[in-house]
Symmetry: C2
Subunit: 413 residues, 2 copies
């Protein structure tokens, strides 16, 4: 017995101070959505905001909305709101581009601050785009810098006089394991390196304190726990002390000190705006702002507490109902080391996730055998954990993964 | 007399085969919108499409819409539609990122195909972001490549054994002058250089034949004549013959040969997909697709003929009504050399444009003294040209630019 029967879970839901947030989202009855760490659910307020942005700001205001609807400051305005979730100051975060493109900006900015060093360091098994962007920069540098990835537990030992920048994800996309941001940053700084934190699985899910940790740069995506919508714009953090010296390689007109002077020569803006590049994606920024405004209404400590409790309940129920069915816990069981998703390996993982989706439990499959369950405290209930585990057990008992439709994996998982 | 009285213009509107398109746009009565080359008007169909994308695809479909609503192929699907406007083949155009970021991709891709050459060449006075992106790449190359801009009429003479890539805008953002794409491309190829065409003021406004001209790369924005909305995603063209050899520097996960294999090492996708980088911005792509679908219903030759006629009418009426009021035509008068906007220099240009906006005539001001009037054939009428010119004359006669509100120029013009 896990101790979590339905009545106990309903009691927890009844006492949940965050329970009211669920109705702020469009979530159909019966669905257990455990994929808010891939694509967050739709805040109900987003549709009205987009209608206004489209018909009033674009349709009526037309070009005058760059000033009239403050489109021109949207990347900075929404960046300042995100900053409050990250332990950053106003003027240290800007919304722009994709996480991948922002990784490029942050890595090259860090390299410009450590011109005598030659290594971009990360861990093997980091989220692929982090590694790929490093590799692209190294290849283009013509031998000046190298991209190097070592096993996660070897990263700190690898720090040395040649390492310019260390790129790590705070919450690992597959395992959910959390890095100690303050300690890693301290160690990297001791070795003379800068650190870039990928916060894609952190922001809006766990408390983040970039300035408390002395972080240099950070990036993250808007479409997971921030509920900004599919392919939402991403964000970039640059500590204020680095801004005036970091050289933007993606030196587009929106990062110019005076974009509408239309000068021939690039002059970087003084502050965080130098990390802007092209024209900001207004529809995407508007949707993202709705997600940010919503999560800003929640207390981050309460979110973290509920996320951890939901994760514990889920693992306890898996222990109780699915023991001996082939699951191996991939995520850390210890609260302090676990982010806001719980992953299990299972040899039938791919087919199992397809069968679960048909039964209204949506999570992710990640190569080669990982089932990833996102624990979004803003809209999940404690009883959802029980319902999900019971459906997982049913899939196992009926071997529902044995289905010719899933014999070949889809290109998108 | 220009010969264009109101009755004659109304007759032209009555016989206009494209007249029906106007009602496909949200345009308030009395507004003369001459800024479709900065931000295209809102197609009426866009709101319903976004409502569906938000509430059905995102809200209901959630993560499953990557396959279920074909989000994953949206950049390629919409790219293929844009290709038809550009004289390109399916699989040669992809929707992604901003024009600035795509410039970076195209320039670095071209450099990878001409590794023995050292110069990125453009013209002074090109749209700033084109020059800035060149400068950023040169600075990051550590001396390996140089960015060089020469006067527009010297560009072809500057071609030489050191020029790797020539970057030009087909229709100049300020003057509206059109480059001969086929001839310039031929001359560049003779000199061993590749050419990147910026089509931001061309696509959807004038016929473009990239493959007919033997073009190598092209980029362009989605928010001008394509009516994709503020900050709409941009597009990139890479001729098929270059795709397998061009090295992507922005090597993000969506450009990987197998993104969902989550491999540690980057392997570029075979085709145009290697120019993808981060997760595609689905809301922006959906809005862009509405604009593309609408313009695809029009005959491009008819669009060009109407655009040229509207431009001629506008210049004739300016000659008739505004002679001696201080205007100097900046754009080519000759049809073959003029794109789809008409610009005039005037010493009071900034204040005049503010006064015009208050009188319902919206155009652009461009430093230092240029009034730019976009001629969008999809939704402008011949009578609009007369109405605009009469209001311009009224502003001059009343010296309406003399207004303390406009004594200091706004940061955004």
């Amino acid at each position: 017995m896990s101790g979590w029967d339905r009545a106990a879970l309903e009691a927890l839901d009844g006492a949940d101070p965050l329970a009211g947030f669920r109705e702020q989202f469009q979530l159909r009855e019966g669905l257990i959505y455990l994929d808010g760490n891939s694509l967050g659910a739709l805040p109900r307020r987003t549709l009205a905001r987009l209608e206004q942005t489209i018909t009033q700001e674009w349709g009526e205001g037309l070009i005058t909305s760059w000033l009239g609807a403050d489109w021109i400051n949207a990347p900075r305005r929404v960046g300042d709101k995100i900053a409050r979730l990250l332990g950053a100051e106003p003027g240290e975060v800007v919304v722009a581009d994709s996480t991948s493109v922002n990784l490029f900006k942050a890595i090259t900015a860090a390299l410009s601050l450590r011109p005598e060093r030659t290594v971009i360091l990360s861990e093997t098994g980091n989220f692929p785009t982090d590694l790929y962007m490093m590799q692209g920069i190294a290849a283009f540098s013509g031998g000046r810098v190298r991209a190097e990835a070592v096993a996660g537990d070897m990263v700190l030992d690898r720090l040395g006089a040649d390492v310019a920048v260390l790129l790590l994800t705070q919450v690992h996309y597959k395992t959910g394991a959390v890095r100690d941001m303050a300690e890693v940053t301290r160690r990297a700084h001791e070795a003379g390196a800068l650190v870039i934190w990928d916060l894609s699985h952190s922001a809006g899910a766990i408390p983040v304190d970039l300035n408390g940790a002395g972080a240099d740069f950070a990036v993250g995506c808007g479409y997971k726990f921030l509920n900004g919508g599919p392919g939402a714009p991403a964000y970039l953090f640059a500590a204020r002390r680095h801004q005036a010296k970091a050289v933007p390689v993606l030196s587009g007109w929106m990062g110019h000190a005076d974009p509408f002077a239309f000068e021939d020569a690039y002059r970087a803006a003084e502050g965080i705006e130098r990390f802007l590049c092209g024209t900001p994606p207004i529809l995407g920024v508007a949707a993202l702002e709705c997600g940010i405004d919503l999560i800003a209404e929640a207390d981050m400590a309460a979110l973290r507490a509920k996320s951890l409790q939901l994760g514990r309940v889920f693992m306890d129920l898996m222990d109780e109902h699915c023991a001996g069915l082939g699951f191996a816990l991939v995520s850390p069981r210890e609260d302090a080391r676990r982010g806001s998703h719980v992953s299990y390996a299972h040899p039938e993982g791919y087919g199992m996730m397809q069968a679960l989706k048909e039964r209204g439990v949506i999570g992710d499959f990640r190569d080669p055998d990982v089932l990833r369950f996102g624990i979004t405290p803003l809209y999940l209930r404690h009883v959802d954990m029980l319902e999900a585990v019971l459906r997982i057990r049913e899939v196992c008992e009926t071997r529902a993964w044995d289905d010719p439709r899933w014999a070949v994996r889809a290109a998108v998982t």
